[in-house]
């Protein structure tokens, strides 16, 4: 159970950084309120709260990669990880310690997003709980990206890759801000080959109660989550071996 001590440290490090709270919770909420305000003045189907909230929830989850990636990269660059690697903790203790606390954080983050959406008019029903469950593979995907990025890059590069590139890519290619059919062509093909639009579509299907329509989108997300997580674990273990 040594990983529990490490997991507790991960939780404290992330929650005690005010920037994490601002970006992880504050920023997606501001966007949700802003786009809902726009929608109330100039009605756009895409920004209807039922349509918008799953997209914002996925966007919010993309910051989880930044949190975990930065923590791992900082630990490596400050030799904190060297101290840890010299301790009797096993590779699985580290991986669980870094990743496990992020899952409840991600679920809590999505809950806050949907509570805000309820305030803005989303009907509270069982479908919201289903959407929270459907977003779990997406959370695992972003946790895996953080593990992978933190194991490969230093904290400055992680800031660029996860903080700027990933959050933007996952937003633009998710069909949240604009309908991908409006762009079409290669852009749409690239977006559909990536997991983000599938994550949003699966959550939208759940919110709408069309559970059968969650697939195959959810399979895309689960597939990506498994591959990225396995790659992250493999690279982290390689790092451990020096």
């Amino acid at each position: 159970m040594r990983f529990m001590a490490f997991a507790s440290r991960t939780t404290k490090e992330i929650l005690r950084d005010p920037l994490n709270l601002i970006f992880g919770l504050g920023f997606p909420l501001v966007i949700l309120f802003l786009l809902s305000f726009i929608q109330s003045n100039i009605p756009v189907d895409l920004f209807e709260i039922k349509h918008l909230s799953p997209g914002i929830a996925v966007f919010g989850l993309s910051f989880i990669s930044l949190f975990s990636g930065m923590l791992i990269a900082k630990d490596r660059t400050t030799s904190f990880l060297m101290r840890m690697f010299a301790s009797p903790l096993s590779a699985s203790d580290f991986i669980l310690g870094y990743t496990l606390p992020l899952l409840p954080m991600a679920i809590l983050q999505s809950m806050v997003c949907f509570i805000a959406a309820i305030i803005l008019g989303l009907t509270f029903n069982i479908n919201i709980l289903m959407a929270l469950v459907v977003l779990i593979p997406t959370a695992v995907l972003f946790i895996g990206i953080g593990l992978l990025a933190g194991s490969i890059f230093n904290d400055k590069v992680v800031g660029g890759v996860c903080g700027a590139l990933l959050t933007n890519l996952s937003a633009w290619l998710s069909g949240t801000w604009f309908d991908l059919n409006l762009v079409g062509g290669t852009f749409k093909a690239i977006a559909e080959a990536m997991p983000f639009v599938h994550a949003v579509d699966a959550a939208r299907a759940a919110i709408n109660g069309n559970y059968a329509n969650m697939f195959p989108d959810l399979w895309w997300v689960i597939g990506y989550a498994v591959v990225i997580m396995v790659a992250g674990i493999w690279v982290f273990r390689m790092r451990m071996k020096g």
Binding site: F6, R9, K12, T78, S79, M82, R83, A86, P88
Partner: protein, 244 residues
Amino acid sequence: MTPAIKAIDLSKKYKDLIAVDTLDLLINKGELFALLGLNGAGKTTAIKMLCCLLPPTSGDAVLLGDSIIKQPTAVKQKINISPQETAVATNLTVKENLELIARFYGSSRSEARTKADAKIQSFGLADKANAKARTLSGGMQRRLSIAMALISEPEILFLDEPTLGLDIAARRELWKVLRELKGKITMVLTTHYLEEAEALSDRIGIMHQGKLKALGTANELKKQTHKQTFEDAFLTLTGMEALI
């Protein structure tokens, strides 16, 4: 004397580079051993192998009866390290940092708390016990780093440049701590401050280009090289005398 560390033909090779070349070394229990050398001499690689952080290309080392290759977990339970940079969890308090390391080495929550309190007292950190590590001065962070290395009650402690970047007062304060530990635990120290090695260590090993070039007390090394000062002896043994 009982050996605490016995390295046998320990080597590390990276493609064309031999970082550590067939290192044979015996360090006794309770000894404070300084491992010196110029940058790139192989000290850090040797320490990393002894701490099970890096697998050797060939050879082995036995730490208190356990092999770094065959029983790395048993070795890790008996050792601890204070890395070159102050490796502390910045958003955790001084007390939380200490408790965290104690728990990694198997202490229960309450045992960890008791041990942390004891280390806070003995390292003069009581005023800062609830302060976040990132708010501490460099000297205080280094002190915390060493307290974290000692909280697991290691039988062997590796200190990689423990006084690097510290002012003279903080350095002397740390020397006092290390002197108090002498004889109680085995310590392996790497440092670029030659006067530090001379003042603190029982024996000194000098590495050059991956090989252990010389071994002995500071006085023995001065005699061996016919030099008046340890600094001159060091320069001779590392082949730098002719260049300076």
